[in-house]
Assembly symmetry: C2
Homo-oligomer: 332 residues x 2
Amino acid sequence: MTMPARNPTLEDVAQRARVSTATVSRFVNNAAVVAPDTAERIREAIAETGYIPNMLAGGLASSKSRMVSVLIPHLSDSMFNDTIEAMVEDLSTAGLNVMLGITGVSAERTEQLIRDALSRRVDAVISSGPLNAETRELVRRSPALFIQIWELPADPIGIAVGFSHAAAGRDIARFAVSRGYRRPHLVTADGARAMERRDAFLAEWREIASGEPSLSTVDIPSRFGHARRAFAEMRRLPQMPDVVICGSDYLAMGLVIEAQSAGLRVPDDLAVMGFGNSAIAGEMRPTITTVDVDGRRIAREAIAAITSHQKGTLPDQRLIDVGFRIIARESA
Amino acid sequence: MTMPARNPTLEDVAQRARVSTATVSRFVNNAAVVAPDTAERIREAIAETGYIPNMLAGGLASSKSRMVSVLIPHLSDSMFNDTIEAMVEDLSTAGLNVMLGITGVSAERTEQLIRDALSRRVDAVISSGPLNAETRELVRRSPALFIQIWELPADPIGIAVGFSHAAAGRDIARFAVSRGYRRPHLVTADGARAMERRDAFLAEWREIASGEPSLSTVDIPSRFGHARRAFAEMRRLPQMPDVVICGSDYLAMGLVIEAQSAGLRVPDDLAVMGFGNSAIAGEMRPTITTVDVDGRRIAREAIAAITSHQKGTLPDQRLIDVGFRIIARESA
DNA sequence: CTGAAAGCGCTTACAG
DNA sequence: CTGAAAGCGCTTACAG
């Protein structure tokens, strides 16, 4: 069998199967539309030539790329990992390839990544990164579906799949009060969403309890080791807090370790709460009380929206609230 | 200003700037090759139209996609995260977009993802996933550069950037002996590379020490919580080990926590070693002795190879050994 | 430094 | 169910 040096094309397959390129194209995209014996000849021709469709050409001709851009702030030590992993897997299953971009906290970086995505004519952009006005406009003009995840902005550009961070902050405050804690200390990552939870916590706390909570802010991405500094700050307080509300499970774990190595018992001497319900939260000793967000559901809803968008039907809601649940465990 | 409903094309820009599409194309790809005043007119026309190049068309015409496929086994709790994050960032900086695929341990899944990548005509595939014979052939035929990372196979398909897992296993054994440990217990993730380190450890141990190490195997991806089961297995041993050699820092951290919560002191009653030098290893209490692999360097070398491949010059070496370093800290 | 034109490899109305 | 043909939006030798 002679192999051409170049990649085999639809034309090569068509000649071999003695049909037109149009028929081969139809077979590749939906095998059921061609006659059974034709299909068989094409199948053989594809196997013999080792044909691999050129999606660049296919995408250009059909103006759909079967590609989705996923933009996340960080990869390491991230609360998003479960969501992202589910996203990438489910997108693949749905026949969509994923372009990954890491935005950090930079709106400029996000803009560049969105331009890259649009230049590939992606079917959708799934993003949890920061947007400036220019980027919003860019996205609004584009035919790609824009999906914001992990938050529910008042006026989403396309659709949003997430939950209310304000509601989460409020519920955490109520939980802390119901458990009898009096002196909360908040360790917040320096990001918009974490700040929104913190502010809602403070507002609710002032409403239903007394005394002003103390605060620490840590850099983003919130790392395990940041807990050390936050713990040191707490120790310098005139009165030691009785519960630490952390912006992530990683921080919570770090705080538990710091507290224990300072001889404190968790939760008796100091209670600790996390956020995100990562696998580690349930596996730590003591197990960590945290807030669960269904990352896989976020992924599923986003993909369902893309699928319906591709069929031309707009998703029936622009804001999809997946909610959250406080999971009470040993640490608080 | 009237906006066409469709995306503006090179043609729209060309008309507005009163030049040919060829000139606009040249400007977009290398602004320096057009005359300064022409460049200025084109720049304005691009701004006015909001032109975003269609890389599908560009890639088809030039037969280079400026896109690289990155294939990894897992995202969550992974030792690879630093490498992947560096990879994605550095690729973006180099003007290459990344297509991400998650292979798990499945060679079939890997094959599908490689087919997807080839159908997008990626410039390179960077992979640390498992390959079957068919996939190897697929890749060999393709003009894309194939880069295997995190290992150094005897006969790489394209090039490989990684380190010798056998050498790492051997050096870990020597380290354990030099520290005076007598009864090592190995906790190994159920993956080819971890097994290679384990086997080399065992071979070396038999050579330079006495007594047969005990073993636990945990599922992949190795999770924090697996440590609990491994620790329980150890406790049932006739004689308690004096050092646990873990396949990842995550496992090591889990073991430290288990040991401590069972009242053992680390390292006095039980020493623990990790692998990978994640951020957590240096931040844990006690800090964890581990093996450092320079993930960012792996990313850099891979990208350098792609760059030189694109210039037509083959990389000068097919095997790039980035080595590893044992980092002695408090835990062992 | 610039333009006219062929070509990249597909898809898809249109016609049969 | 199938084919002929136009078209998707670029790039790039070739010529000037």
